[in-house]
Amino acid sequence: MSPKAASKRVPVAKTYKIYIGGKFPRTESGRYYTVTDKSGDVMANICQGSRKDFREAVVAARAAVPGWSSTSAYLRGQILYRIGEMLEGRRAQFIAELTSQGVASAAAEAEVSATIDRLIYYAGWADKYQQVFSSVNPVSSSHFNFSVLEATGVVAILAPEQSGLLGLISNIAPAIVGGNTCVVLGSESLPLCAISFAEVLESSDVPAGVVNILTGFKEELREHFASHMDVNAIVYCDDEQNSGAEIQQASAINIKRVISRVDRRWDDAENDNPYLISDTQETKTTWHPIGR
């Protein structure tokens, strides 16, 4: 080794792990797959998450439901805002990750900006969507009757394949701002940001278990996402080889809410809207007598 080469610092590569219940374990299966950069060099070994990882993630997500869904809307808004703040501080890292995965640098910069802005957008909805979608219903008997939204519970998200960061956050944010917890399978081919985003979450006051992020193969995990009896809703964003139909079919096992977000342009402003929140909400109607 020449003295010159010795003076060049050897970078410390990051181990990309999955994110379950606020912890960063490796997949219990011990499996991995490799992502490479444009020149074919190994960028990272990515956990090939298993159905058991998914199972653990659902347990963590379920455990987090009571706390998160009863967290005040104001605080949920602040926590989402905090995620945006943290991401802003780590722009460079995310831009680098996107470009290393083949995204042009201007596009990468735009994607990170859009992601941060979308987080801020949904943070603002935390204490407002309820007012838009709730109602007082003028029943004809002597009762006070009102309908409010409540989180449906645990949401399984198969994040979009082609949008490793913005697409991921566009699905997580509306689910969690409404008090749901989620288990997300990141993009298979663009997985780096998903795991780095978990690190952002970890420093953003998001309670453990509210967001759980796996990496791995959709083909392998899709059916388990759809058939898990303790998952209340499933969001999918790709429909390759009739997978949408398979998801719907398997979801019927416990009458899951199935939300298809296929063929969307994730940089479109249309993804900024409260109906993405109401997709994973239940309407609860309460009656009470009015009397003495």
């Binding site: 002597s142 009762h143 007598p289 009015i290 009397g291 003495r292």
Partner: protein, 309 residues
Amino acid sequence: MSEPALHVKPSLVPDLNRVPPVDEVGVIERTTRFCKRSIKKDSKIEALKLALSMIDLTTLEGQDTPGKVRQLCQKAIHLHDTLDDLPHVAAVCVYPTMVGVAKNALTGHDINVASVATAFPSGMAPRAVKLEDTRMAVGDGADEIDMVISRGAFLQGEYGLVFEEIAAIKEACGDAHLKVILETGELGTLDRVRRASVLAMHAGADFIKTSTGKIQPAATMPVTLVMLQAIRDYYYETDRRVGMKPAGGISKAKQAIQYLVMLHETLGNDWMTPDLFRFGASSLANDVLMQLQKQKTGAYQSADYFSKD
């Protein structure tokens, strides 16, 4: 003049905090259901006759005279003699000064004389006066005393005082039956109606009664239902059957039947007797008689054919 000191044992006063709350809307829903019952044919005739037998034929006017009271007694004895198998009313209800007149007029008939007492209808008199009022009515031959509770004291939360007063009047009644008028129209809520019912029963009431007839609203089905439910709970607890008397505002046979349905489905067969249920009313009897006549002849009736005394 100051009230005599409280000498009731505090332990005898029921803990009204243990009385279950009442939801007004639910009570009204239930009473609406009673009114949906369709009472026809034999069951109607049976109910009409029973209603007649439960009437306390009442006159409680400042203008009452011995003449008026005697006419009322005459009506009590001869409700409508052209109808067969009629029962007689349960009692004639008058002011204390008229007890003697009524007693004489009803001699030889199995009809009680009931007297209001205790400075009816307001009850705003010293305890000694109320006691004396009661003793005089009983002394003149009243079989039943309809007292009023001190609503002011009750609304002030002086439950011990109200309890003690009822107990004292009960003692003054001797063998006469005591009906305790809650004057529900002045209590404001069904919760208070229920609590007052419990208080009155524990203090010795033989009957609890809704109203004096001088305050609106008087008897209503929701109020009566709450009182019947209090009677049932008291029966469950003590095995003593307390009677019920809705008074004021029940003038139609149809209403009377609805009250009987309510009684029947709340307290069951044992209470379907004048010993345990009365209607305090002045014009109900004629409407019931008209209905009975209609059942007999099939023709709708005119009030001109029924004596108004």
